[in-house]
Symmetry: C2
Subunit: 330 residues, 2 copies
């Protein structure tokens, strides 16, 4: 019996030690840039609920899919989408090869730096600009163009590299979800090949977990070397009702949690919320004119209007950036 007792004592001490260590780990705040309040509490309550073994709300790791919009949800989108700054720089870089652009809209306006006038041409103008700057090269060449641009490009207001204009609280949220078994995806209206070159380094999200808008590509053998050529033809627009379509086509299962900031994300949140069992939907509301920007129902970029109403009606979490985040950028 003496030997057995020793073993029991040892086991008890060991179990007690593990319990202490676990408590210490749980006590460390996984979301330090989030102020204590309903938004932070709702996130933690949801994660604790669906990871509690034996609970009826428990969700197996394979089904822990979280989808994030990018522009305005993970990084800044004002005074305009980052990809538009890229487009502007590309048009300037390519202008010497296109002397006709000086006389031709929407390029003439862009070359004068007047994005607003260029975009006055609506969807047709935008598409023309997108194709002129995003098509005609191989996928490898385009990846290099994006990577090179990101090294030198700076935000016009903050003068910081765009990849530093990401939201620290959202980086913590991505990490927190992954530590709890979630697979984190980007589901963005932005170009998929504009994001993939840097999402691993910046967000910890690998290219295969990035869903976005795309143009068509064609497989070709050039000088014995297989390449994918980027064609001036739209393939898929991953925005609004396109987001659930993109999610289904790419992931093949419904997200457990979805995060957005604009009406462009509303259908993604609706699709997520309509799944069986517990689901989590969150809008980031840009309310901080001092540290970031304040905009919602009237903004040309990242308009949040219907989404605000539906979030209120359905009890989704709405982050008040000014109130809920004690830090914006890393």
């Amino acid at each position: 019996m003496q030997g057995f007792r020793k073993v029991c004592l040892f086991a008890a001490v060991f179990v007690f030690g593990v319990a202490l260590a676990t408590t210490a780990a749980q006590a460390a705040d996984p979301l330090p840039s989030w102020n204590d309040g309903p938004a932070k509490q709702s996130i933690i309550a949801f994660v604790e609920k669906i990871t509690r073994t034996g609970s009826s709300d428990f969700v197996p790791i394979a089904d822990r899919i979280a989808t994030f919009d990018n522009d305005g949800t993970l990084w800044a989108e004002q005074p305009m989408y980052v990809q538009l700054f890229f487009v502007l720089d590309r048009v300037n870089a390519l202008a010497p090869q296109h002397p006709e652009w000086k006389e031709k809209e929407p390029f003439a306006s862009l070359l004068k730096g007047d994005v607003k006038a260029a975009l006055a041409g609506g969807e047709k103008a935008l598409l023309e600009i997108a194709m002129a700057t995003h098509a005609g090269m191989t996928s490898d060449e385009f990846e290099k163009i994006v990577k090179d641009w990101l090294v030198t490009a700076k935000h016009p207001v903050t003068k910081r590299p765009f990849t530093e204009m990401v939201y620290q609280p959202m980086l913590e949220l991505l990490t927190y979800l992954r530590e709890n078994g979630f697979k984190t995806y980007i589901v963005s209206g932005g170009g998929v090949e504009f994001m993939r070159p840097w999402t691993q380094n910046v967000y910890g999200i690998p290219p295969e977990q990035v869903i976005g808008s795309s143009i068509k590509t064609r497989f070709e053998i050039r000088d014995g070397n297989p390449v994918l050529v980027r064609l001036p033809e739209l393939n898929f627009v991953d925005d609004k009702a396109g987001k659930p379509v993109g999610i289904h086509s790419h992931i093949g299962r419904r997200p457990l949690a979805a995060f957005g900031n604009s009406d462009g994300d509303l259908e993604m949140l609706q699709w997520t919320a309509a799944g069986s069992g517990p689901r989590f939907c969150l809008f980031v509301h840009h309310t901080d004119a001092e540290r970031e920007w304040a905009y919602d129902r009237q903004s040309p970029f990242g308009r949040l209007d219907k989404g605000l109403d539906e979030a209120a009606a359905k009890g989704w979490t709405v982050v008040d950036m000014k109130r809920d985040w004690n830090k914006i950028y890393p």
Copy 2:
């Protein structure tokens, strides 16, 4: 010093123990259904090479992407693709709602069980059949149709469920690669939503790692409930030159290893082989008329003609099913 020596002795015994355990694990054959020979050796040599830490051929886990064709590579495709049996059964099930099919090709031939005559109408006929049987319902409804069908459907020759007509050596290969840090994908000409309902259970491949052909879907709110409606319009054909396009669009990086069995996989293997550093390409050659089927250059399903020549020219691995596999089905 005495204490230090004890620690060292303990450490040495521990390390030795771990080393012994490791050796034992390595000694267990990861591919027992593969006969010893050049095919098996080439697989193991490749995996050992790219997983050896410190070697110049070492590949980080994130880049260990392996893509597998499905029909004829992971499961049988004779006397015709499994999805065609599904189509045939669906046409019969739907016929009462379509009295006009009795007089209308390609349906009239299908209802008589004459697939060959039905497919004589070429791509147009095939598309018409595909849309009649795959579109018009929601994505959830289609998933249920596929799952229900698989429970009862049997292969006409072996009388086994189709999900048991998978190749045991390939199941072992999938497991072996995953144990060595690979992410395994299916890249098939078959319908993506025809495969996703069962690939996790049968191959251990989750829906988000299945790439295939698809029709368009549309997000709709029906009676307040968001659904994805399957439209009678082709979205993407994931075959031949479409395979590298599908891989790039879905994964965003080039496979490290690719596995196929027909000319439909050739471009996927070319795209894979053209990457920098070590790459691995393999064709399954159906040479076993007794235990499975023997076919290659002339087969209407799974023709392997150009691929055989290119594999020989480039030194890719070609599995001789009869010689290399001691077991076909589980």
